[in-house]
Symmetry: T
């Protein structure tokens, strides 16, 4: 069996509620077009503010997936 | 119309419960004295421990707001 | 009284649910063998993905505790 | 409406003249194949030297765009 | 004479044209309310994209100024 | 002739033997689907351990390639 | 009691003698206009040289203080 | 089953020959006193020079292992 | 003779007086329980403030020591 | 043919006008005493301010050149 | 005896084969013109790609040597 | 008058006593062979340990000096 190779893509998920939901959203979206998602790393956490409150959490992640041979 | 200028201030919000609540608290406080808050970035996440449990989440953010002319 | 000295250890807590629960788990485990835990810092937030969903949040923290004389 | 998800791609634009022109070139090229470009961040600024002069400015940027549902 | 103390503030200047103009705009604005500006450091260079072109360069700088006694 | 534009993708190559073989594997795989590979940069070197020995070297690289017009 | 919020400001203290004295000077100056100073972090240590000797140590710190409600 | 917790320790392995052998040596040594080693990350690669040649490669790694309940 | 392996531990020393004394205190404490201390690296310099003055310098160091076979 | 070796030197170029001119100035100066300049990387962008305007852009670069055998 | 002073220079060694050989080449070259080489640190590992294979490993190191009095 | 160009060199000064003395030693040594020293930045602070005590503080600095035309 060959040594696996992984590709990493970078996504920014957003949520009005939490860091976790923003990450879930990004992974859910990636899963529509990419198979074999394996891991993620949080790169940056930002957000927009509207009327003195957090409007959107914006969490940027790298997502790694196995590249098929 | 002139090109806008933004100022960034750094705040540490705290919460006994979650990262999100700590950020909310810091933004809520900033909103009392500063208008036009636009975005934030999480800089550091720390916390104090008391009796083997998280006592306070301490989340440091940069908050950007439009400087009025 | 002498100036205190602290030691920092690095732990990765995991949770199927949230960043906060992963950190809580790591601190709870540290508290079984180490006394005088004082603070923590989040170093890295990663996670594993299974079937297109976050399986485990993996949050690495440094935990500081007072070294007894 | 669902919370938007963004993808980030990394490009190196080049120019014999300026940082700005190198970035413009990279964004112009991205715009040929990707819709909904929203923002960029400069990651690295390098260049090649030929006969004691800057030959090409090489500016690496991350470009974010909205992923359509 | 006492040893001087400086304060640093963080600003994001914007320009439709260039990095330099964005920095100039931020410093010009700071000069309206702060005296004794001495130096700046570029912290981050980003921008917004509209219709496949750079709309605004957004350059974040730290600006240092002498604090009067 | 126009100023070239490059794209960078991020890959993790793996090998039971060495850093170099892990990188070779990632580049070999990239070469199947992308033309004009030009350079790489090592971003991170990690590995898995099994029975007290390195099981897989996991080397993450950025690979740059010329985007055709 | 509400969860406290802290603000961080950045200062460069200077001294002809030592890192410690430069930090002391910056904190002393901050204390004239800000109440409730709690902690500092050293961000950067630089200095000017005159006639082959250190003329001024320039130590940049972040200082945190409790924001009153 | 509870969510696992991992501990990370930092080691510097050395070798007169290669990066890989230095890492192998550090992991082999860790395995004598710690069970359940799972992964490592290379933190720093340095070396000593003697008579104009590399004397020892010094590779610092973090090693993660599962903490038993 | 085998290639040596070193372990690194992280400590925060404190002092009311100076960076150097804080480091000395941490090393002195480490020396009580660990043999073969060889080198240290300063990781972070912080401090607590009380009544507008530095109360404690808090200097975090990594200390390396030879692991005996 | 032997594998080439390059040396990197660090320079700060200055200009009253632009980042590009500051870099050009540094490379032009390096070219007076060093042959075979090949590439540069921008390390830091700072500047001095006089009367509320940028006086000098100060751009620090690493310049690489082939070392002759 | 006086406290020693060291100088650090930065070199990029290259090799068609391995990281180690690239470093060896850089140190060998440095040893032709500089005495008292003591240690090195790997700063960056990159490489050029030709026909889908690594053409040259390019490893940038800092090399420290004792400055004679 | 032309825009000045500066060169930066990296030195490690050592002292059995303090950070400041280590920096002084490095600058004093640089001043023997280089004119027009202007500023320095502390890059890294390390040290050697002998018999459980700091033997040498090793402070690495970048020193900037004006390059004459």
């Amino acid at each position: 069996m060959k040594d696996p190779v992984y590709k990493l893509i970078e996504l920014t998920g957003t949520s009005t509620t939490s860091v976790e939901e923003a990450v879930d959203g990004a992974i859910k979206r990636a899963n529509k077009t990419v198979k074999n998602l394996r891991w993620f790393e949080v790169i940056e956490t930002r957000g927009s503010i509207e009327k003195g409150k957090v409007q959107h959490w914006q969490v940027t992640i790298k997502v790694g997936f196995a590249v098929e041979d």
